[in-house]
């Protein structure tokens, strides 16, 4: 037993490949940082951040509910309504897209992959830009926000729904076809019951995202709490910024909790 400390040789790694990755990373960082230049920090930055912090800790409680309707609760309710309606619209509109791009719903590969491309095109189109376009069409206000969220969410929901359809069990469908059911009957009795829980869960998940998105739509005038927030930021009313931020955080957290609870019940 003389060889108690035998050194195990290290496994040979692909050294050249690693060096290639490291140098590529280095080049990317050199490019990224050299292009930025030195950041100029304004003299007032410290002062303003202090003001924002004191605003968050001394929020403008009176703003929560004011006579006249231009207050925090109305803004949050508006935001919530935009998110609910936008999610509802997209949950309906994305169903045809989902069946279109699910690989097991059509023969051949061309149709589903074209559907997948359409969905990823919709996903990449920023919702704020969509909102700007809808503002041109229906005028500024919450409706433009609803339409933007409704259209943009199709991209993600359609993708998730089509994956849900692809992952379902094909047994019930085959059994129904064997007993002579037509396409609509198989859809109604075999496919829909299997995918409904997944659809509902993804819709709720997207609703959580849409609540966050709806809070920023107001920045460009598409309704919700974002508009008073931008006004408060530009008029440097930090106490009001504080209460709006607290309102957003509380609302989003509550929605996440409720939606998470419901999603656990579905699946």
């Amino acid at each position: 037993m003389s060889e108690t400390t035998r050194i195990i040789p290290k496994p040979k790694k692909n050294k050249i490949g690693l060096w290639f990755i490291y140098s590529a990373l280095l080049l990317i960082y050199i490019w990224a940082f050299s292009g930025m230049g030195l950041p100029e920090i304004k003299q007032t930055a410290g002062q303003i951040s202090k003001a924002i912090f004191s605003g968050i800790f001394h929020p403008d409680w009176n703003y929560i509910s004011e006579p006249g309707g231009e207050d925090l609760l109305h803004g949050l309710l508006d935001t919530l309504a935009i998110a609910i309606l936008g999610t509802f619209i997209s949950a309906f509109l994305c169903i045809p897209f989902a069946f279109w791009s699910a690989a097991n719903m059509s023969k051949g590969r061309a149709i589903p992959s074209f559907g997948k491309f359409a969905l990823s095109f919709i996903r990449t189109f920023p919702e704020l830009v969509m909102a700007i376009m809808f503002i041109k069409a229906v005028g500024p206000g919450s409706f433009a926000g609803v339409l933007a969220l409704g259209l943009h969410s199709i991209g993600m929901l359609g993708k998730l729904f089509s994956e849900e359809i692809e992952n379902m069990d094909s047994g019930p469908t085959e059994a129904l076809i064997a007993t002579g059911a037509n396409r609509i009957q198989t859809l109604w009795f075999a496919i829909i019951p299997q995918v409904i829980p997944g659809f509902l869960s993804y819709t709720l998940y997207r609703f959580e995202i849409n609540v966050r998105s709806a809070t920023i739509l107001g920045v460009i005038g598409a309704g919700g709490i974002g508009t008073p927030l931008i006004f408060a930021l530009t008029s440097r009313d930090w106490n009001r910024v504080g209460i709006i931020l607290i309102g957003i955080i509380v609302m989003v957290t509550m929605i996440d909790l409720i939606s998470g609870y419901l999603r656990k019940k579905f699946i």
């Binding site: 990317i28 960082y29 490019w31 990224a32 940082f33 292009g35 930025m36 950041p39 100029e40 920090i41 304004k42 930055a45 303003i48 924002i52 309710l77 508006d78 919530l80 309504a81 935009i82 609910i84 309606l85 509802f88 095109f121 990449t124 189109f125 920023p126 704020l128 830009v129 700007i132 376009m133 809808f134 041109k136 069409a137 229906v138 206000g141 919450s142 409706f143 926000g145 609803v146 339409l147 966050r212 998105s213 809070t215 920023i216 920045v219 460009i220 309704g223 974002g226 927030l229 931008i230 930021l233 530009t234 440097r236 910024v241 931020l245 957003i248 955080i249 989003v252 957290t253 996440d256």
Partner: protein, 263 residues
């Protein structure tokens, strides 16, 4: 039991719950559409405007691509730097919020609570606040992407750490390793691939986010949306959208390929 009793169909479960849910849901949708003043009529009235807009957008102004390449590169730079700082800063946050590394609930619950708070604030709101503090430019954009990235990367990574194999950690504790040795030799080899994959995933999200941060004045290509849409130059706006689409799809493609190799 006589055969007749056997054949009776069991009563279907009460449907009251379903009806109440449906009624509540309809009230919710109806209330929201009243609140947002949405109506199908208004949409149909506005529909020709949308078609008109799309018609004006359709032949994109190809010459405009040269003008926006610099801004596009700035957008990618912002995403790279923001993601990197976010990843670096998320390492300590991750270690303090993993319940199998820090056994003290007084530490990991507060850290996770702060992480949850960070994730509730959308990136554009962060950018608007940072623009108010630091003025226009790409610095507020980078800062908001950094904060936003910490929220995502730290959350995903601490969940990965909590699901690692405990065997190596126990073995190392048994031979007397301290906390740092435990992390370096027990945790990092197990989660490094996931960590890098999450960084790439966050980078994809950040490229998309950086493309619109300019709308609130935080640098990048978003500034040009304001310019072109403000002057009603829709052909230029559509070339920005197309350019963004190409860049985002390209980055997504590379990043997805890399992530598939990692895991």
């Amino acid at each position: 039991m006589n055969p007749e009793q056997k054949r009776t169909i069991p009563p279907s479960p009460s449907k009251i719950k379903g009806y109440i849910t449906a009624i509540l849901f309809i009230i919710l949708i109806w209330g929201s559409s009243v609140k947002t003043e949405s109506s199908i009529g208004e949409f149909i009235v506005g529909f020709p405007n949308i078609m008109d807009l799309l018609g004006q957008m359709f032949p994109p102004n190809w010459g405009y691509f040269n003008n926006i390449t610099d801004a596009m590169l700035e957008t990618i730079r912002m995403a790279v730097i923001g993601t990197t700082f976010g990843a670096i800063l998320s390492i300590p946050v991750t270690l303090f919020s993993a319940s199998n590394l820090v056994q003290n609930a007084w530490i990991f619950y507060p850290v996770r609570f702060i992480l949850n708070l960070i994730r509730t604030i959308p990136d554009l709101l962060l950018a608007a606040i940072f623009v108010a503090i630091f003025g226009l430019g790409s610095l507020p954009g980078i800062l908001s992407l950094t904060v936003f990235s910490i929220g995502i990367i730290a959350k995903l990574t601490y969940e990965a750490i909590e699901s690692i194999d405990q065997g190596p950690l126990e073995a190392m504790t048994a031979v007397g390793a301290n906390k740092i040795q435990l992390i370096v030799f027990g945790v990092i080899p197990q989660v490094l691939a996931y960590f890098i994959s999450y960084i790439l995933y966050t980078f994809e999200i950040n490229v998309r986010a950086a493309a619109v941060l300019g709308l609130v004045g935080a640098g990048g290509i978003g500034l040009f949306y304001n310019k072109t849409l403000g002057f009603l130059e829709y052909d230029k706006a559509s070339s920005i959208i197309l350019y963004t689409l190409v860049v985002v799809l390209f980055i997504d493609f590379i990043s997805t390929k890399l992530r598939e190799k990692l895991i």
